[in-house]
Symmetry: none
Subunit: 258 residues, 2 copies
Amino acid sequence: MKQPAKRASQTQKKSRVAKARSRHPLPAATRRERVQSKEDAIIVAAHKSLTARGFTKTTMSEIARKAGVAEGTLYLYFNNKNALARAVLAAFYTRLTDTAKIGVAKCATTTEKLEFLARHHLESIIGERRLLELIASDVRNTEAYEGSDIYKMNREYVAVFDDVLRDGVWRGEIEDGAVQWIKRDIFFGSLEYSMRTLLMKKRSSKKDITAVVTELVKLLMGRADTRTEPVSNRDLIKAVERVDAAASRLERLSEAKT
Amino acid sequence: MKQPAKRASQTQKKSRVAKARSRHPLPAATRRERVQSKEDAIIVAAHKSLTARGFTKTTMSEIARKAGVAEGTLYLYFNNKNALARAVLAAFYTRLTDTAKIGVAKCATTTEKLEFLARHHLESIIGERRLLELIASDVRNTEAYEGSDIYKMNREYVAVFDDVLRDGVWRGEIEDGAVQWIKRDIFFGSLEYSMRTLLMKKRSSKKDITAVVTELVKLLMGRADTRTEPVSNRDLIKAVERVDAAASRLERLSEAKT
DNA sequence: TTTAACGACTGAGTGATATTCATCATATAT
DNA sequence: ATATATGATGAATATCACTCAGTCGTTAAA
């Protein structure tokens, strides 16, 4: 409710200044940039603590110490501990979405895209598993999650998957089965649950991740790779649908030209 | 490590009680019963608060008030807030496993069993969604989750699913594909993630639950039903007609251009 | 019966932690 | 140079999990 607290909702802006400003803010750029870099420092410090020790075990004084500010200062930038955690989460989602988009763009087929997304998601959440706590326990349940910043960022992130899936259906590589959101839930739900299993196995190797990823994608794709098996009616229809879809693509391409 | 706190493990230990009862029939029994009913009251009160307000927002004094005991008394029965939450979770798992076993026994085919298990799980966790917080955030992460009571109860619960799946493979109703634990993760992960989606939809109907359940089971079963259908001549002709039509579209398109 | 021991329970007290607020410090504007 | 707004501080407050010295009633020993 205070004036400076409103700044807390801002996101990226990378101008990183020297961090030796813990005591006497002598040199530096504009006032605005100084404030921004302090906010960044707080988020970085909070991120470190949260991923290392989890939400409940992380104390505000610990974050303040790491960030080189007083405890009260934290509350100039974020209304409370939850808001600070949400800011950390927002930064995480931004990174996640960016790398996902870049990776997908490099893939050719739908299978490759899905496998990339699955592996990317799984490895990311294994690395920052503690942040998932926040989503599950504090953030998603409290108040109106829908409409919040985190909700929007989550939508943007899963939209990457949605686009790949829709495109796959459009190109005939995936059969047009269930509603989109069900497949999305299966995708992300499986990965987040698998994370727990992998973390508990004594030696969770690269191989395990690959196994999960390929199996999941195989299921979602409808097992298009069953070559040696005899032709079923369903296979036949699927094949024709792909020809159909290809023709439609050409049609639309041609229409767009004229 | 106090004397009365050891009771907190509240599993069966009836033999000792029986002996004591045979020696001193009336007084020992009543005292024991009084203690037991008080423990039950505490667990019930904790369950109410936890499911209503979640772990962090539930206070020990609130539980004590609901249970009709002093705050300190809670610590005679459970070492700390986490242990109390675990006891609540243990009771939940017991109910869940029991009803799952009973329901599966009534089903004939593997598909029916899986669909029952999926619906049962989904409806249960929607009803007691706050308890999942405990599993994800506090219980599973702290200390040695593996080897704990909750871990064992979880194993016993998912074993119901494992048995159904193994049986399905054995009977040839499911193809022998990936490792068992991957399919298990896909099953429970999808359902728990779907729960969140369903809870957020304005009107999450019975229909949505059914859609999730059938789609998930369909994926896991590998569509063994449609795969075995032979191709009929009529199917083939219809398919070729579609390819023909697609070709015609392209022809017309090409003519229109020139 | 008297009395000592015991088991069950209590609630004021303790320490830790999130959050507030009166106060101070610096930079920019006048 | 002075004033004002902006930013920062940390002691004080409130809340909560958890402790412990002590109460009360029952049982067993005297």
